[in-house]
């Protein structure tokens, strides 16, 4: 309960205002505060909008100086991913069937024709929750995340 709400209830208890007035004022305060909250949430969402997809592969610290260690550090802008997904709409129909067939062979039942522009934003936003952390048998650490 906020200070303003307390004051209104105190004034109501002291019979300085009617029940209707108190109800109206409480509603106004409620809506004003929820408005502030939603603005704050929107600001947080804007701040948290991912900019890059990162892929890193780091060697096991114990084998760091051995000959066969690979280090990978890739940073892909989300806008590039967005533009890449948009390209799927330009795939010719004949090629789309081939792509779908190849995906089905790999066990992925996905139709690239179903990717619509309005889905792209949702798909990219969903990536913000992505985090893959794998440690291989050789001790290599593979990380896929967004920042």
């Amino acid at each position: 309960m906020t200070e303003n709400q307390k004051k209104i209830l105190e004034m109501l208890a002291e019979k300085k205002m009617s029940v209707d007035d108190a109800y109206r004022l409480l509603n106004v305060i409620d809506s004003a505060e929820s408005g502030q909250e939603s603005t704050h949430k929107a600001e947080t969402a804007v701040k948290a909008k991912p900019k890059y997809l990162r892929v890193t592969v780091l060697p096991d610290p114990a084998n760091e100086h051995s000959q066969n260690v690979d280090r990978v550090n890739v940073r892909v802008p989300m806008s590039l991913i967005r533009a890449g997904i948009k390209l799927t709409s330009l795939i010719p129909p004949e090629a789309r069937d081939k792509v779908n067939g190849a995906l089905r062979e790999k066990g992925i039942d996905f139709d690239v024709r179903n990717v619509k522009p309005e889905d792209i934003e949702e798909l990219v936003e969903a990536l913000s929750d992505l985090e893959v952390d794998v440690v291989s048998s050789k001790g290599e650490k593979v990380k896929v995340f967004v920042e």
């Binding site: 900019k51 690979d70 550090n73 940073r75 892909v76 802008p77 590039l80 533009a83 330009l90």
Partner: protein, 92 residues
Amino acid sequence: MKRPPVLMRVKIKGGDRGFGLWLPLFLLLPLALVVFIILSPLILIAVIVLWPSGWGKRALLVLQAALEIFCSMRGLKVAVQNRQQYVFISVV
């Protein structure tokens, strides 16, 4: 439309050999624009000829998508290395 990238850095090292390159994309863009303007009549004719088959529209969309991809490359960074080889690509 986003701002196009201005510089591209490429560094490749394999064994004792290697090279580093700074590509000034901001200098290449006006050149590409001139080439595009010179070729635009041919592109226009090709688009008109191919329009009934549906490929003309697709060609135009591909041009637009290519430009969008190029402009989205700002911030791309790829670094892969092992003991002998090193590949580094960065677009600024």
